[in-house]
């Protein structure tokens, strides 16, 4: 069995199916963008809840963030895909189903929103209290303080960490093939079933993700270094 090395190196099968595989990669990025949008929105909401003056709201925010962070993505994905539609069906007395794409976006968005909550909170809380008090005492309103004093500094602080979160989100989009969203891994497994030659395809997929994510991570590193430099200056 161990004589198939050239297949991996040339990756001819991977090249033969490049169009389907590229469309799969496109689905990956599509889900990534939608999930990232959801994650940032929910992360902001939960972060505001965690910073609110009322204890109950704070507690809800913390509970939400911990729940999202501590559930494995795959478990959340399966749960979102099967349980809420059934509960809704029981409540509304009609049949409700989520399309795999919707479940994928919701599950991955929720899973990663927990991390964003923490990132945003850490960013905002890292602004010294004195800045807020100084802004208030010069007569700036709460909104103006947040917009012109807290936000510019906080964003700079949380940007590197958020970019890393985006990369982990992109990595976890590979899971959506498990609920039959036609992403790259899904296409790979379909072609494997047709061709019965898993080696070049799965190796090709691994190499493709490796190259994409490594270059994105390098870009992020570059960006965050220059952001940090700006912050120091």
């Amino acid at each position: 069995m161990a004589g198939d090395w050239p297949q991996v190196v040339t990756g001819s099968l991977f090249w033969e199916y490049r169009r389907i595989l590229l469309s799969g990669l496109f689905v990956n990025f599509y889900v990534f963008f939608l999930a990232a949008l959801l994650a940032v929105t929910m992360g902001l909401l939960a972060c505001l809840a965690r910073l609110s003056p009322w204890r109950t709201t704070r507690w809800c925010g913390t509970f939400y963030a911990e729940l999202c962070r501590n559930t494995p993505e795959y478990v959340l994905l399966i749960w979102v895909h099967f349980v809420p539609p059934l509960v809704l069906s029981l409540l509304l007395k009609t049949k409700v189903t989520f399309s795999p794409l919707v479940s994928a976006v919701v599950a991955l968005g929720l899973a990663s929103s927990g991390y964003f909550t923490e990132t945003f909170r850490a960013g905002i809380q890292s602004i010294p209290r004195g800045h807020v008090e100084a802004a208030h005492s010069t007569g700036m309103s709460g909104y103006l303080t947040f917009r012109y004093v807290v936000m510019p500094q906080a964003v700079r602080k949380m940007l590197p960490e958020s970019l890393n979160q985006f990369i982990s989100l992109l990595k976890s989009t590979t899971l959506i093939s498990l609920i039959a969203v036609p992403d790259l891994m899904y296409q790979v497994s379909m072609i494997t079933q047709e061709q019965m030659r898993p080696m070049p395809l799965y190796s090709g997929a691994a190499i493709a993700y490796f190259v994409i994510i490594l270059s994105l991570a390098a870009l992020v590193r570059r960006f965050s270094e220059s952001w940090r430099a700006v912050g120091r200056a």
Partner: protein
Amino acid sequence: MLQRIIWNNRGEFLEGLLVTAQISLIGIAVAMGVGLVICLSRMYCRPLRCLAILYIEFCRSTPIYVQLMWVNYVWPELFGWPQSFFAAGWAALALQSSGYLAETFRSGIEGVARGQREAALSTGLSPFLTMRWVILPQAVLMMTPSLMNQFLVVVKSSCLVSVIAVPDLMYRGLRLTSIWFEPIEILSFTAFLYVAIVFALSAAIKSYSDRVRSRYA
């Protein structure tokens, strides 16, 4: 309802938990061994440095699911191993973590102040003794929290091995769902178990690392 489905199947859930625990522990143990070797060859063995960096970057930037599929389908053809799903499962978990752990070890070792090493060498300790008695004790203390966090990551990603039919907690949950057709109770309970385990582990890790930090830093 709950009693019929959850309590009567407690054996299944317990066995699943056991498999999850086994595969996570084996995975992190192998990852520590491999990670240490990779880290040492990156730091102290010039000719292997490039290979070690490539290995680390590959492990860290490939999604765990892709690695799992790759190990499960490609390794048996290339290397004739692993021959069981269980082995493929822990090998994939170890592959992912060994890259992260190699970097953890490196930053731990490099985090020990240079002067410590120089002082030890100048008092006549051999490089091995310096490593054993001066650098490692301090480095281990500093990297324990990230090591434990990596274990948490392994536990979280271990649910993916159910995809290749390793009978872990998630696999049992899905199988019970397809037997009983009660996804609401069974899947929610499975998810609850995962959340409870991961939450308990992360709380323990946090309190431990806070204690270490307050005592030594």
